[in-house]
Symmetry: C2
Subunit: 229 residues, 2 copies
């Protein structure tokens, strides 16, 4: 069993993508404090990376940064990638889309706090558009009336990431569940199915007991909570 | 010869990554106006995607969005990926790092115009850190005193992307060349070597005649030019 160590804050946000995947494939890992790498050693480690999450993978004896790169790395090793060229590429695209949504919902990593006008433009504009990107992708490739997966008939890393994105978002902000069901009903059902997979369900149950509804932390989470009410 | 069509604005920014790669591998492509997809049809195409660049690839008869996904797709097809698990993953990580730098240098896609304090914090803090991320990655894996490549002894998609990032940035803003040479001397030389590869050199010569020093366009480019002087 390879030795994995995840360096991330005590929050779901980007870390939950990697944790859900590791639980899905049934491997254990240590969760370590970010301060072992970030910020002081981030440029000094063998594969430097700007910010958490960092994953140490014992099978290569190295640490990797960037959530989508970590997930693609694990997905290759555990055969969670679609086989066809188009859907293989779309799996990565889905991870990048997830990463963009995380950036946008935190108003670019909390660069500015949300204000009513900007938040409503996002909630009723970009956010539904993103939800539809996932829904239309699923409909074109495998998701149909509560069956199938985003990119075909078998589960892939894209499904884990989609649930890590929208499942976590709607758990942390229950008011957004309606937005998801309206704009992406197939994705809403997919999130529920992925979250119900036994190993993921067990992990989420513990994580949600630990973190409650916490999402990304900091002032930007308070700003989000003020907007969503 | 597959049929490729690139939908991007008449600017280098994210498009130049894909154009440099297509020229490197010697395939031709059409450059089409973004308005054929963006914004009206972006959610309606078979593989919806939020924003340009979009690449139509005739070999799969589909369009893909997200620059790093497009580059990884092409890199697989043209054998421009390192073979080992670690460096294969680092190739994707390098593309994600490039994408993050583009986001940061435009102050998150021009969300706010640059002001002196924020710009200086970026130019003398995050930007050199990013340069060092690339430099240290190269030193750990293959770049040495003007020889070798970022991830080993052969060129990979990561080298094309690194040159598309820092080569374009320093061509558009010559004052930043010193910053690159100070913080990442190996990367500065790598950019020059990649830009001198015959097909890329020919492409860049034409592109730079067409676009001049244009970078990302819009108000945010004006704001950048005001800061850099």
């Amino acid at each position: 069993m390879p030795d994995y160590r995840l360096y991330y804050w005590e929050l779901p946000f980007r870390g939950v993508f990697i944790e859900m995947f590791l639980h899905e494939v049934g491997v254990s890992y240590q969760r370590l404090d970010t301060s072992e790498i970030y910020p002081d050693k981030r440029l000094k480690i063998h594969n430097p990376g700007m910010a958490p999450p960092y994953l140490y993978d014992g099978s290569i004896d190295k640490t990797i940064a960037q959530m989508p790169a970590i997930l693609m790395h694990l997905a290759r090793d555990y055969d969670y990638l679609p086989k066809r060229s188009e859907t293989h590429t779309l799996a990565l695209k889905a991870l990048l889309d997830c990463n963009d949504v995380l950036m946008e919902i935190t108003n670019f990593n909390g660069m500015q706090m949300w204000e009513k006008g900007a938040w409503e433009t996002f909630r009723y504009g970009r956010l539904p558009d993103w939800m539809q990107v996932f829904e239309q992708t699923g409909r074109a490739h495998g998701l149909n009336d509560g069956k199938g997966y985003l990119l075909g008939s078998t589960i892939s890393v894209a499904d884990i990431a989609t649930a890590a994105l929208f499942g976590t978002m709607t758990y942390s902000f229950p008011a957004l569940q309606n937005d998801l069901e309206e704009n992406a009903p197939g994705v809403a059902k997919l999130c529920a199915r992925v979250e119900a997979r036994p190993r993921i369900a067990e992990f989420l149950s513990g994580a949600r007991e630990r973190y409650g509804r916490d999402y990304c932390g900091g002032q930007i989470e308070r700003s989000l909570r003020k907007m969503i009410g």
